[in-house]
């Protein structure tokens, strides 16, 4: 996997003069035959400290488990990959929040157009009772790490 070296990318661009067009094998003039970025040895960036506390916190918030070390590594790699963003200077730049920032929201009239489809809705639910959806008791937090069916407990 090639490493995207952002800083390098820009520097390479600056150093590439517009008039310097290398002639490729097919005679094409427009595309420089040398790639913009250099292929680099993947130097591991300083490892993000992904603590057990953080993993536990994420598992609770997302209600999704890491399942195994691969899962944890996946997260670490994702964070590492995302960290490249910090190489970019964004001072004074407004965040672009939405593709739709210059469009305005469509408003619908206050009419009753939906509903009354109890049967259809309940059809897809695995557990129902009369006309209700049935859920196990709520307000019980996930068991502590040690009691949870999560591989994280073993990794302590």
């Amino acid at each position: 996997m090639w490493a995207l070296r952002g800083g390098r990318c820009l520097r390479a661009a600056w150093s590439w003069g517009g008039s310097r067009l290398a002639r490729g094998a097919t005679g094409g003039r427009q595309i420089d035959q040398n790639p913009e970025w250099q292929l680099e040895e993947q130097k591991p960036l300083p490892q993000k400290k992904v603590t057990m506390e953080l993993l536990d916190h994420l598992e609770r918030l997302a209600l999704v488990d890491f399942r195994n070390w691969e899962g944890v590594e996946r997260l670490e790699k994702a964070i590492q990959f995302a960290d490249q963003l910090h190489e970019v200077n964004t001072e004074g730049i407004e965040p672009m929040d939405s593709v739709l920032e210059n469009r305005c929201l469509y408003l619908r009239g206050d009419n009753i157009t939906e509903g009354n489809c109890t049967k259809e809705l309940l059809q897809n639910a695995s557990q129902t009772a009369e006309e209700y959806f049935e859920a196990p008791p709520g307000n019980i937090p996930l068991p502590k790490l040690e009691e949870r069916e999560s591989f994280l407990q073993d990794s302590n």
Binding site: L4, G24, I31, P35, D65, L75, A125, P137
Partner: protein, 550 residues
């Protein structure tokens, strides 16, 4: 007949040369014959035949609904279809039968199209190979082409074939394979970061990603709400335009569709690239680009220049960050969109019932694959209070920089940008699975996701991508030009410029027999343009599917 373009089939149906039922049956048997491709998850045989019958009645009465009446189409299995299982290739939705049709599906049905089946994909559309779904990977029909097999230097031993088959690209691989193998005339895919264009490139079909906001997403099970677009896969550009004409327009059920009226158009045949200014973004030349792709890229540039266009080099300096940006914003939205899958109202539900929380956790563990779970966890990480500013907001700022890059380029006189679509050709499955999904996506989406990201461009209406047989066209339209918002600009590279066409023999000859004629050049290119120049009417046609035009 199965190889014909929409317009031809439509005419044939109107004239009674073939009946909708016949057409439908032929497609159905072809699907059976090409089962090894694993392109379909659900084949809706009964429904399709019924719809064909209805269509036939209409034709007999002389009241056809339009160009799509009686035409078999396939739909990616992440679009809701009433009464038809919609799984997103995930355990989480196995057995889920939606009670409503996605707007785009409804529009097709309203035009009389015959829904032939739901196609295979990567689980929840996450992936670039159509290999990560619970129903198994989709095989690229080209794996069985004579040319490819000759290239592999092997004879037709079944086991060798099995191990060297090519991926379709993804995530709309099933739809691309379906269209490419002639089992339907058009298919719906979805495009978030290239998921329609990538498989279109790999399978040698036309893939169109409409501008965000042009086509309704109501009923499309979302991956990234701010980037998803229903995609159209067909065998020629005219067909794509026809289908787009049916699907586009404001939908009151989708607040992100543009409210301006949409005027469907027909592609004229006049071609003139003389006044075009083509930009070649230098940052798109990255390591990993195969030499073949590079060759074709250069060749395309030359072709434009020889045709009279002005071809210059341009710079999109933040290109290398767009994939990182996309990764962060995508993961965050995915984490959010997947929060609804808890087993309570629909979908898989775990037997664990000690508490709601543990039931949810168990359901999600059992229902999602590693890829989905991984993205949910990293997405949640980026959204944590302590990380939101550092990652999410930061990514939004970088997105604006990327968007500004495009604005700068287009406001400097460039009309069209020409870039590759993928780094390389379709690869064999065995090679593809060596790297993990995120890495692969990072590589494969490198060219295509910038268009999805820049679909959010400030002041730009959006980007439309057309991935034609190996050529990808990215079209921008400025929001200020409301009437021209959806005028397409196509650059026409006619057959003279040497882009050849691939033709399949009757698919009943798959996978082992039948001479296959030359493939088109495999690598695909992207062409981006801006519609600010109203007077530009350029059409991009790469060779079409008719054998006699080669």
């Amino acid at each position: 007949m199965l190889r014909a373009a929409l317009r031809e089939v439509s005419t044939a149906l109107k004239e009674g040369q073939v009946s909708p039922t016949e057409l439908c049956q032929r497609c159905l048997s072809l699907i059976k014959a090409t089962k090894c491709l694993n392109a379909y998850i659900t084949v809706t045989e009964d429904t399709a035949l019924r719809q064909a019958e209805e269509s036939e009645k209409r034709y007999r009465r002389g009241q056809s609904l339009g160009d799509l009446d009686g035409i078999p189409v396939a739909v990616k299995d992440n679009f809701s279809t009433t009464g038809i299982e919609t799984t997103c290739a995930s355990n989480m939705l196995k057995g889920y039968i939606p009670p409503y049709n996605a707007t785009v599906v409804q529009k097709l049905l309203d035009q009389g199209a015959v829904l032939i089946g739901k196609t295979n994909l990567d689980e929840f559309a996450m992936g670039s190979g159509s290999t990560d779904g619970i129903f198994g990977p989709v095989r690229n029909p080209w794996s069985y082409s004579k040319q490819y097999r000759e290239k592999c230097g092997q004879n037709s031993h079944l086991e060798n074939e099995d191990s060297s088959w090519l991926i379709t690209g993804g995530s709309s691989g099933g739809s691309a394979a379906a269209v490419s193998s002639f089992t339907c005339f058009a298919a719906l895919g979805s495009d978030t970061g290239g998921s329609t264009r990538n498989p279109a490139a790999h399978c040698g079909v036309v893939g169109l990603k409409p501008t965000y906001g042009l086509v309704s997403r109501h009923g499309l099970i979302p991956l990234v709400n701010s980037m998803d677009v229903p995609g159209i896969l067909t065998r020629c550009v005219d067909d794509a335009a026809t289908v787009l004409g049916v699907l586009a327009g404001h939908d009151p059920k989708d607040s992100t569709t543009v409210q301006d009226p949409f005027n469907p158009f027909k592609l004229p045949s006049v071609i003139d690239v003389g006044k075009l200014c083509i930009g070649i973004p230098k940052e798109y030349h990255i390591p990993g680009l195969s030499s073949e792709t590079l060759k074709v890229w250069s060749k395309a540039a030359d072709l434009f220049e020889n045709a009279g266009a002005r071809v210059i080099e341009v710079s999109l300096p933040h290109t290398c960050y767009s994939i990182v940006c996309y990764h962060v914003l995508c993961a965050a939205e995915v984490a959010s969109n997947m929060a609804r899958f808890d087993g309570l109202e629909y979908g898989h539900r775990s037997n664990m019932d000690k508490s709601t929380e543990s039931m949810y956790a168990a359901t999600r563990r059992e229902g999602f694959n590693d890829v989905v779970r991984g993205r949910i966890l990293s997405g949640n990480y980026f959204l944590l209070k302590q990380n939101y500013e550092k990652y999410f907001i930061k990514a939004q700022k970088v997105r604006r920089l990327i968007a500004n890059d495009f604005v700068n380029v287009f406001s400097s006189g460039v009309d069209v940008l020409l870039t590759p679509t993928t780094l390389r050709d379709a690869v064999p499955y065995v090679e593809f699975i060596k790297e993990d999904n995120r890495t692969r996506s990072a590589q494969d989406d490198i060219f295509t996701q910038a268009a999805n990201m820049s679909a959010f461009l400030h002041n730009l209406g959006g980007v439309r991508n057309l991935c034609l047989k190996n050529i990808q066209v990215l079209l921008y339209s400025r929001q200020s030009l409301t009437s021209d918002l959806y005028k397409k600009i196509y650059v026409n590279l006619s057959k003279e410029y040497g882009f050849k066409v691939c033709i399949w023999e009757e698919a009943s000859n798959l996978p082992t027999q039948g001479p296959i004629q030359e493939r088109a050049e495999k690598p695909s290119l992207q062409v981006c343009t801006s519609t600010e120049h109203k007077w530009l009417q350029h059409y991009f046609l790469t060779g079409n599917a008719k054998p006699d035009q080669i």
